[in-house]
């Protein structure tokens, strides 16, 4: 069989800091690969058409919907899922703790995606206005409609990281 028609392809990428290799079905999405090959079930299957953001992961530092990203494209990429935010002794990161403190979690399905987009936003080290922040978070749907608390968790963490005082 010619190389083009093989149904499986070897994909090597860095996932949460470790280099991993798997034989992947060429028809798989990155969501399929992360959940089925690596049991990273924080990557949620929501709409599977790139609308809800529940499957968001960071690829080379940028947030992508992994449901509309082919697994074979991940070869050579650096991928971070929610599991990658855990500290060496299981500590939560500041943004995760902020979600808890602000009760920004109800059913929890949208949470991993929101937190990864928030990580990209916060890691930029910039101070955003409320409108900019809303736009940056706009690729996620929370069907519990807990947006205010989510917004506040991200905003408070942004202020904290930049050493600024947060005003309600």
């Amino acid at each position: 069989m010619t190389e083009d028609l093989r149904q499986y392809k070897q994909v090597t990428c860095t996932i949460n800091g470790k280099e991993r290799t798997a034989m992947v079905d060429v028809r798989a999405s990155l969501t399929d690969m992360l959940r089925n090959e690596y049991r990273l079930t924080s990557v949620k299957k929501g709409c599977e058409v790139g609308e809800c953001g529940a499957c968001t992961v960071l690829i080379d530092g940028e947030a992508f919907d992994s449901c509309i990203y082919l697994a074979i494209w991940a070869d050579g990429k650096n991928i971070i899922t929610l599991e990658g935010l855990e500290g060496p002794n299981g500590e939560l990161s500041d943004i995760q703790q902020a979600f808890i403190d602000e009760t920004a979690i109800q059913c929890g399905f949208c949470t991993p995606g929101f937190i990864l987009t928030a990580k990209e936003v916060l890691d930029s080290g910039k101070l955003y206005t409320d409108d900019e922040l809303r736009k940056l978070l706009s690729g996620h749907l929370c069907r519990c409609t807990g947006y205010e608390n989510i917004f506040r968790a991200v905003k408070k963490t942004m202020y904290k990281r930049l050493g600024k005082k947060y005003k309600e």
Binding site: D4, A63, Y69, L70, K135
Partner: protein, 295 residues
């Protein structure tokens, strides 16, 4: 898992052309934010794909010696928005692509995919029309250049021939130098929305900022494909910058557009949008260019 019959991964532009010749039925996949969704919906289920996503040579923005801005067709919307050359010379294009979908869609969506889909609602299309963009198309006979105004053949149909793929979007210096523009998008939501109508206007003012030396008006969703408002442009070029000229633009554009009724919006509402958006975008473009105009 996607319903894909086979996927051929291009290793270079030449290889992509070769794959296009070998598999004429196969669909090109760039970022996939349209193609994969069509597969999921069943409209493209069971298709063969030629993936060009891995071709980094088709990414990035640079200024060529003659001042032409060259945008590789695989450059993502988020990279175009953040690019210093775009911000400096064609900031309206950066603004327009920053209105596509949501942040994750802008990370994967490409300007080449946006144009090659041939849809009238593409957020980048009206601004590319307004800047007389030229598409670099690579095929078995080499490279040819196609003005974007000739590229769209009908809804979903573009002038890509056997073995060809779009490799870059070019904007010439004479098209952007001295021009300031504004893109407005009307939709029901602020994110994850397809434009009900989109309007991109740019102007070039005289030294004293009183006379309209040139203006260009382009629309998405004002007809089956993106289009320019040539009648209006010819009629008001050379007029003074004034609310009267703006009102004339608002009236004249109705002769240039041909929107339809759809479940998204009625024809008469779209006509109202075409007129109002042209006037508002014109006002903002004039102000960006340093001119003064009352509301």
């Amino acid at each position: 898992m996607y319903d894909i019959k086979a996927i051929y991964e291009a290793k270079s532009v030449e290889h992509a052309v070769q794959l296009r010749m070998e598999h004429p039925e196969a669909v090109i996949i760039a970022g996939g934010s349209d193609v994969l969704i069509k597969i999921r919906e069943g409209r493209l289920a069971g298709c063969e794909l030629i993936s060009i996503y891995g071709l980094d040579e088709m990414r990035g923005i640079r200024k060529e010696e003659d001042g032409t801005i060259r945008i590789g067709s695989l450059t993502s919307f988020s990279h175009i928005h953040a690019d210093p050359l775009i911000q400096k010379h064609i900031s309206v294009l950066g603004d327009a692509v920053n209105m596509v979908g949501g942040p994750q869609i802008r990370a994967i969506g490409t300007i080449g995919g946006n144009t090659c889909n041939g849809v009238t609602s593409a957020d980048s299309a009206s601004t590319l029309f307004a800047y007389d963009a030229v598409l670099e198309i690579t095929g078995p006979e080499g490279v040819r250049l196609c003005p974007i105004s000739e590229f769209y053949l009908g809804p979903g149909k573009v002038d890509l021939r056997e073995g060809e793929l779009e490799t870059a979007v070019l904007i010439r210096k004479e098209s952007y130098s001295g021009y300031k523009g504004c893109y407005l998008k009307y939709g029901m939501r602020n994110a994850m929305e397809i434009a009900t109508t989109g309007c991109s206007v740019n102007v070039k003012l005289s030294q004293d900022k009183k006379v309209l030396k040139d203006l260009r008006i382009a629309y998405g969703v004002a007809g089956p494909v993106p289009r320019r408002a040539k009648v209006t442009e010819d009629a008001v070029r050379g007029s003074e910058v004034s609310p009267e000229t703006r009102a004339r633009i608002g009236e004249l554009v109705l002769e240039d557009v041909n929107p339809r009724d759809s479940w998204r919006a009625a024809k008469d509402f779209r006509l109202h949008l075409c007129s109002t958006m042209a006037m508002r975008a014109f006002t903002q473009a004039v102000r960006k260019a340093g001119g003064e105009i009352d509301d």
